[in-house]
């Protein structure tokens, strides 16, 4: 939702980043305010997943220019864990499997670490169990999910649900969902979208990085940005996604005029 006078959560200016000497991000500007949902769309290789990873602090990417302000912090000065503790969350496109660690153990460790850093109380295993089971209902997850090893042997849909469960537990100010819809069937997609919709509110913000418009039928964005060759080349409202769905991406290079006159 777009709210008048809401405060800025994320301000990215002229962001440039490269990996192994190859520049991927070539000057990104983006402002995200509380309550807003932004979609970043683009073809493979346009840099959208890189942008998500750079925001989360992936060490493989070198930031060569620009700035990222996150609430009152200079994000580029913070290691990934401090970004997470400050309220930034990245739902991974390919969540990592950790055989040998029970999901509940991992979730509680992450939750308690973040809670402690925010000056709040930790939960003991019993308290946490009640808490996490409540959150799991949001995502229609079976209880045995807690006892299995983190993401090991999970289906694509289960992995993505587990990501959103972590988002629900860590209560971020800004969530970045990297291709969360990829590999999901329509039922799983609805469950994941429903979970996200119940977590978003007027005080937090969400960035959806996606290839397809399909997800945006269920999580309705306030802004749609199109990335191409490491830049945001067009910004519009939710109807831009529909237009991309019917017309593809080719026309954008030729005609860099936004269809809907909304500026982010």
């Amino acid at each position: 939702m777009i709210i008048a006078n809401s405060h800025t959560i994320l301000s990215v200016q002229g962001l440039r980043a490269s990996i192994n000497g190859t520049e991927i991000l070539k000057g990104i500007d983006l402002t995200v305010k509380s309550g807003e949902i932004h979609a970043i769309m683009g073809l493979n290789g346009s840099g959208k997943s890189t942008f998500a990873k750079v925001l989360a602090g992936h060490s493989a990417y070198e930031v060569t220019g620009g700035s990222i302000q996150f609430a009152d912090k200079n994000l580029l000065e913070l290691p990934p864990e401090e970004r997470a503790r400050a309220g930034l969350f990245l739902a991974f496109q390919y969540p990592i499997e950790i055989p040998g660690v029970a999901n509940t153990q991992f979730l509680r460790l992450a939750y308690n670490t973040v809670q402690t850093q925010r000056g709040k109380e930790e939960l003991d295993p019993l308290e946490f169990d009640d808490f996490v089971r409540e959150k799991m209902k949001l995502l229609e997850m079976k209880p045995d999910f807690l006892d299995r090893s983190v993401n090991e042997g999970f289906s694509g849909g289960e992995k993505k649900r587990n990501e959103i469960l972590q988002m629900a537990l860590l209560e971020p100010k800004l969530s970045i969902l990297d291709e969360t819809d990829s590999g999901l069937d329509i039922d799983a997609l609805k469950i994941v979208a429903n979970g996200v919709n119940r977590i978003t509110n007027k005080d937090n913000a969400t960035i959806l990085v996606t290839h397809y418009q399909r997800l945006l039928d269920y999580i309705v964005p306030d802004f749609v940005h199109v990335m191409q060759a490491g830049r945001i080349v067009m910004t519009g409202g939710k109807e831009l996604a529909l237009e991309l769905e019917t017309r593809g991406y080719d026309w954008i290079t030729a005609n860099k005029q936004p269809v809907a006159g909304v500026n982010a």
Binding site: A56, A60, A84, I98, F106, T113
Partner: protein
């Protein structure tokens, strides 16, 4: 290693052997005599022997390591912390010698379990046909020594179509300094039987000593055994172990061996699938640090068709430790439709740690499915990033991933109290503090 030291170590042991009393059983005396003959014609292996090229055992000849003495004064309280809640069946050996007072068998009617000498008269034919018959000692000086000194031993016989619900705990405790002990185990799973056996080497001391163990397992048709082996000897100990398993038709053997202690340990496991449709899974974890050396040699021998074997071996090596894995898989010409997989995964936690891993496949049948793979490396950067993005510090992320690497094997142990003990041991050893 000089010849003189080599010879004197064995000579010293041979002298002490001559002083031992003869058994009442002729076949047993003969077995021991054969073994002692074998010892006198063999030498201690050196790094020039292919099978020992990564493992230098010369440090164990620096002390005489006489045979351990029987007659321990240990009380239940001294070793209670090593007991497992689930295991009501427990045979305790102190420095290789059986202790009746520390042992307990809860299912005497269903299970035949006890010390070798006590079962010699009632189980003579079974013992004679299996003891010393699975682990050959003509080219294995340590198995020969163990057999030469054979006196006490854990014998577990699971009768036909009997399922033993509670695990059997064989607990070997080291208490004497600078001695050699010779633990011996024999598990006989009769047709259709089920059992879980825990072979556990623990210590109450920190000094140097040698454990030289031999375990023989024979599973008859359709018998199932889970064999959990835990080596948690003192950090100065030498642990040299041989185990051989013989699998009959459609039998199922699952092995999980965890190696934590000893300055030098060597575990040699031979599994022979002697009849059709036998199955085995062989998992191992070595978790070592300082200057420890842990060597695991396995051989899975598919002799008949339709057999299955799955093996996963993991090593976590820190500091200047050295892990060795040699995993041979033989698929003989007759063993068509064998399904075999092997994975060796190794995690190096320091620049000075070393891993030598050698998968060895010898496949003589054409209709088989065999896969193998070996990796040696550090923790994965993507995995570390994932955990850091959830708020964990880099140290906490590394600790968790290292723990998980080992815990994956431990999580397969079907005895929860043992699992917890070992998870704690892995936790203690893998958690470095922020530097």
């Amino acid at each position: 290693m000089s010849e003189a030291i080599n010879t004197s170590y064995l000579e010293c042991l041979l002298k002490s052997w001559q002083a031992k009393p003869a058994e009442s059983r002729a076949w047993l005396n003969q077995l021991r005599a054969q073994a002692i003959d074998c010892v006198s014609t063999q030498k201690l292996p050196t790094k020039r022997d292919e099978e020992w090229r990564f493992t230098d055992i010369s440090p164990l000849t620096t002390l005489p390591y006489r045979p351990s003495q029987p007659g321990s004064a240990l009380k239940i309280e001294d070793i209670q912390h090593l007991f497992l809640n689930e295991a009501k069946n427990r045979l305790v050996f102190v420095d290789g010698h059986f202790s009746q007072s520390l042992s307990a068998i809860a299912e005497p009617a269903a299970l035949i379990a006890g010390n070798l000498s006590a079962l010699l008269s009632t189980q003579a034919s079974i013992l004679e046909s299996h003891l010393g018959q699975h682990v050959p000692f003509d080219h294995n000086v340590f198995a020969a020594l163990n057999t030469a000194f054979l006196q006490d031993g854990a014998v577990v016989i699971v009768p036909k179509n009997t399922a033993i619900a509670e695990p059997v705990h064989l607990l070997f405790i080291a208490t004497q300094r600078e001695v050699t002990s010779y633990p011996r185990c024999l598990l006989i799973g009769e047709t259709g039987s089920h059992v879980t056996l825990i072979e556990d080497y623990a210590t109450l001391q920190h000094a140097a000593y040698i454990t030289n163990s031999v375990t023989e397992i024979n599973l008859a048709g359709n018998a199932h055994a889970k064999h959990i082996r835990v080596q948690r000897e003192s950090a100065k100990a030498f642990h040299l172990a041989n185990c051989a398993v013989s699998l009959a038709h459609a039998s199922n053997y699952q092995s999980i061996s965890i190696s934590l202690g000893s300055q030098i340990s060597r575990y040699s496991l031979d599994v022979r699938l002697t009849d059709e449709a036998a199955e085995c899974s062989i998992d191992g974890l070595a978790l070592i640090s300082d200057r420890q050396l842990a060597d695991t040699h396995t051989c899975i021998d598919h002799a008949k068709p339709n057999g299955t074997s799955h093996q996963q071996h993991k090593c976590i090596a820190d500091d200047a430790s050295h892990a060795v894995f040699n995993g041979k898989i033989i698929v003989r010409p007759q063993a068509q439709r064998t399904n075999s997989s092997q994975s060796s995964r190794n995690l190096l936690l320091s620049k000075t740690a070393q891993v030598d891993t050698k998968p060895q496949l010898e496949i003589f049948a054409d209709d088989v499915k065999c896969s193998h793979g070996a990796t040696v490396g550090q923790l994965d950067q993507e995995e570390i990033f994932y955990l850091r993005s959830r708020g964990l510090s880099e140290t906490a992320a590394r600790n968790l991933l290292t723990y998980a690497f080992g815990a994956e094997i431990i999580s397969r142990i079907p005895v929860s109290s043992l699992r917890q003990q070992l998870e704690q041991a892995v936790l203690d050893q893998t958690q470095s503090n922020p530097s």
